[in-house]
């Protein structure tokens, strides 16, 4: 299908940068070898909540080989944050989670760093610890941020504490509709904190240059946000900070959100470099990462739905209690998203949902892959099955009954343009054998759906430079962590400029040279940089055509470019090599540099006028539950996704399969576990269980065609939505297998057995 229309778009050409990755070239942040670099390390709080009475660094400083020791006293009195500015890079006067950075050391070797960190004497005065956000909301709870006011939009009668953000969703008259419903189902779901556990540890390096500028290397998803935050926290002019991106060994949102995600590792490293007047590099230990960097928050989800006998949903009410952790981090955005999504993506005319994002003494919420989405969808889609069971309806039928159509409104989206939800459900049913497959004892089948935002957000640009040999250099502001720079971007350039993909280079982000970008976040790679790159390539092509027009004695409009030849349409013999024209540019316009920008205002206007073309998905699976141990094995797993036009199908499938795997991990085993003092009990990979190949089914992915998105060529973002339906799809299959509804994640043997026992209790 794609091939007829395009020459390379829609094909799965091997990624750029593949050879470096399979041969072990040292291209990642942790592989950097900077001349005469010192090792840096961070001292972290051993209390989840305490006053810092004093810090004595004198002994640490006296150790031979120690070049700098810094605390909050050495840094400008500046705080950071995304929505609430509530955090110092090094804790000042107070620590709020076990992992809060307190001091940092730069020394000649990692061993000396370790030794010095042990010699920093911090006197703490422990304060009461609060880990459960519902406890933290109570007026009797200890205040975690005395100087942070409660959100202004809180309801007047809300008697709450420690709330850092509040969202309300309201449509129609839910009270009246609920009262008039034939059936009301009221449930509570709970998800736990997981860590994204990208494999490459977080790193930062900083070097003070001779001219007084500071060069910072970061394996961060948002280099420009890192530049802004580093400059601000060190009280330097923005122009004195340059951030260089490396290739990134996984991020999943865990390395996004500026410096928030890495617990300020970049400015701390820069502070050390300034103090030591030497280059410093910090690489976090993996167990240190688990306790200190940003995570996917746990949430408690109250959900209540009124339906008519025929299965029509009439009302939804609910409450989200979203754990921000010790600081606001990305909590306000993730919590708001979760609150909206608890309203579901079905026709629901009357809705009221309150969303509270709450401080606790745990590590901080980040924008981890589909922030807020999987939590909400676990509740929504498990709940849909509970309602269907009470109605005696087929779960898939019940969903189809409440399906929105083009032009309809759903919670958080005033108008939908295209709705692929029904088709994804239909295909998922067919692929899994819904109603047909013979299930053995203790086997069950489940389905769940999901959606994700496609609304406009922060943008970004692209520059496409045509070199004199006809090769092309592309600058975008997005980093490579297995995402668009190696996959979609080179295809777009090759398509528009008629060059082989192997002639396209995509440059790593350098804030001195790359166009500004908000970061590789929010499934926006293809939408932002794809759009910008396409426009930049077209701009470059137009420049080339203007330059070639004279020589070919034709109008620029009559030219085309194929196989690195610019030629007159219909007269292929009249042609000039791309390289010749690109070289001629040197004496005419300097260089062919195409510029493009993702115009979010235009995208927003388009969405307002025609509606949102957001992606939908349905996942279905078959599981087998061992009723004696509670162990769940996934026998088959089907993922059906509308992501618009797949520019690089293998990359899109890879995103979906990886996202599904991450949520399968969250469903079955992943969880950051705390003791009552707020100490993480499973920081290392020995204890933090993640899916290995043994527990993974083959994910059978189907891409649905025919629902164009707002990205280039009709593409939609694909990085996050695969996480959304998984938790409920598995929980629903467990319910189908053994008739037990597990409402608390993970769906581990322990929790499944507990649910089995609890269900037996009221009957006896």
């Amino acid at each position: 299908m794609a091939k007829a229309e395009y020459s390379v778009l829609g094909t799965s050409i091997p990624r750029l940068g593949g050879v470096e990755r399979v041969t072990g070239a040292g291209i990642f942040g942790v592989d950097l070898m900077l001349q005469d670099a010192l090792s840096g390390g961070i001292l972290r709080s051993q209390y989840a909540h305490a006053k810092i009475v004093s810090i004595d660094t004198s002994e640490a400083k006296s150790i031979p080989g120690v070049r700098a020791v810094v605390t909050a006293a050495d840094a400008p009195d500046v705080r950071y944050g995304r929505t609430t500015i509530d955090r110092y890079m090094l804790a000042k006067n107070r620590v709020r989670y076990m992992g809060d950075p307190v001091a940092a050391v730069a020394a000649d070797s990692p061993a000396i760093v370790k030794q010095a960190l042990k010699k920093i004497k911090v006197v703490y005065e422990p304060l009461p610890v609060v880990l459960d956000p519902e406890e933290a909301m109570k007026p009797s709870a200890p205040a975690l941020h005395d100087d942070m006011p409660l959100p202004k939009n809180l309801p007047a009668d809300a008697k709450v504490k420690n709330v850092c953000s509040y969202t309300v969703v309201h449509m129609g008259d839910p009270d009246k509709a609920m009262a008039e419903a034939d059936l009301v189902v009221d449930e509570v779901y709970e998800t736990k904190m997981i860590h994204p556990q990208y494999l490459e540890p977080r790193m930062a390096a900083a070097r003070l240059e001779q001219n007084g500028r500071l060069t910072v290397w970061a394996n961060a998803q948002a280099p420009f946000a890192v530049r802004t935050d580093v400059a601000k926290l060190l009280a330097l002019p923005l122009s004195r900070v340059r951030v260089l991106s490396t290739d990134i060994g996984g991020g999943f949102g865990g390395k996004a959100s500026g410096i928030t995600s890495g617990a300020a590792i970049e400015p701390i490293c820069a502070l050390l470099a300034l103090a030591a007047k030497r280059t410093v590099m910090i690489v976090l230990d993996k167990a240190e990462e688990t306790i200190s960097t940003t995570i996917r928050s746990g949430a408690k989800l109250y959900i209540k739905t009124g339906v008519k006998k025929d299965g029509t949903i009439v009302a939804r009410t609910g409450k989200v209690v979203y754990d921000a952790g010790a600081y606001s981090g990305f909590g306000a955005m993730a919590g708001a998203r979760c609150t909206n999504m608890l309203g579901g993506w079905y026709l629901t005319p009357n809705v009221h949902i309150d969303g509270y994002v709450v401080y606790t003494n745990k590590q901080v919420c980040g924008p981890v892959r589909g922030p807020g989405g999987p939590q909400a969808a676990f509740a929504v889609e498990s709940h849909m099955d509970s309602i269907a069971a009470k109605l005696g309806m087929d779960p898939a039928e019940f969903r189809l009954k409440n399906m929105p159509e083009a032009g309809d409104r759903i919670v958080g989206v005033p108008k939908l343009r295209d709705v692929s939800l029904g088709e994804t459900i239909r295909i998922a049913k067919e692929k899994i054998g819904w109603g047909k497959v013979k299930l053995k004892k203790n086997q069950g089948i489940g389905i769940a759906t999901g959606s994700w935002i496609e609304s406009a957000g922060p943008g970004g640009g692209a520059m496409v430079k045509v070199n004199e040999d006809g090769s092309v250099t592309v600058h975008i502001g997005k980093i490579d962590m297995g995402t668009i720079p190696g996959f979609g971007i080179p295809l777009i350039v090759a398509e528009e400029l008629g060059v082989p993909v192997s002639d396209v280079m995509v440059v790593n982000v350098d804030t001195d040279a790359s166009p500004w970008d908000a970061g590789t976040v929010g499934s926006r790679g293809i939408i932002v940089s794809g759009t910008a790159t396409r426009l930049a390539a077209i701009d470059a092509r137009n420049q080339l055509f203007r330059l070639a027009a004279n020589q070919l004695e034709a109008s620029p409009d009559d030219l085309e470019i194929k196989d690195k030849q610019i030629r007159v349409k219909g007269t292929p013999s009249k042609s000039v090599p791309l390289a010749t024209v690109a070289t001629a540019a040197h004496t005419a316009i300097g260089e062919v540099i195409g510029r493009g920008y993702c115009d979010n205002k235009a995208m927003e206007a388009e969405e307002k006028a025609h509606g949102s073309s957001q992606p939908f998905t349905a996942h279905a699976c078959i599981v087998e539950v061992d009723p004696d141990t509670g162990n769940v094995k996934i026998l088959r797993y089907v993922a059906v996704h509308d992501i618009g036009f797949p520019i690089h199908p293998a990359a899109v499938e890879g995103q979906i399969e990886g996202a599904a795997a991450m949520s399968i991990g969250q469903a079955l085993c992943e969880q950051v576990v705390f003791d009552k003092n707020g100490r993480t009990l499973n920081p290392s990979f020995v204890d933090y269980l993640m899916p290995t190949i043994n527990m993974m089914p083959r994910i059978e992915t189907t891409l649905v065609h025919g629902y164009p998105g707002s990205g280039p060529y009709g593409a939609k973002g694909a990085g996050e939505i695969g996480c959304v339906p998984v938790l409920a799809a598995i929980a629903n299959a467990i319910y189908n297998a053994i008739g037990v509804r597990v409402t608390k994640l993970p769906l581990s043997p322990e929790n499944v057995m507990r649910a089995i026992r609890e269900q037996k209790k009221p009957a006896s």
Binding site: V22, P196, I693
Partner: protein
């Protein structure tokens, strides 16, 4: 106290003076510069640092450099021959099994060890061979595809490099 060791890495002889507590991973990465051996969990759980130690795959983070005295090691840097990728390397690129690529060197070494043993592995043998390697990007689907393609390549009439493209 430091030790003098000799060993062979990817066919090259090395002599070094090392501290007894130094891990083989740190030795390979920081002393000898084999950055293709990836650092991650440091607990032998993720497989990113997998190398061949006298032909057998090991997690180099939980082996002491001292224990590698006299050993013959192969890292991912040692697989391509004369600029031509090993079929396992090529298959990982071709199938889209390389997303971020951080786990890739470890996987490739584990798969090479498997295919050195058998060129016709069963699904169970494939699963077993990479059960100690964690990938967070792919969901393993395309990695399994890559392993099967590499195995088929190696079954080819002229062995190792018959159909490999570089």
């Amino acid at each position: 106290m430091s030790l003098n060791i000799r060993l062979v890495v990817n066919g090259t002889r090395h002599r070094a003076k090392i501290e007894p507590a130094l891990s083989l991973l740190d030795f390979l990465r920081d002393t000898l510069g084999y950055k293709g051996v990836k650092i991650c969990c440091n607990t032998g759980e993720c497989g990113a640092c997998t190398i061949l130690f006298d032909g057998k795959p090991v997690n180099s983070c939980v082996v002491l450099a001292a224990d590698a005295a006299g050993a013959e090691l192969v890292t991912v840097e040692g697989l391509a021959e004369g600029g031509r990728l090993h079929p396992v390397q090529q298959a990982f690129i071709d199938t889209g099994a390389v997303q971020c690529g951080y786990c890739t060197p470890g996987f490739i070494i584990s798969v090479k060890a498997l295919l050195d043993r058998t060129r016709n592995p069963t699904a169970e043998e494939i699963e077993e061979a990479v059960s100690g390697n964690i990938c967070r990007c792919t969901g393993y689907t395309k990695i399994v595809d890559a392993i099967q393609i590499a195995a088929r390549q190696l079954q080819g009439p002229t062995g190792l490099t018959s159909k490999a493209r570089s």
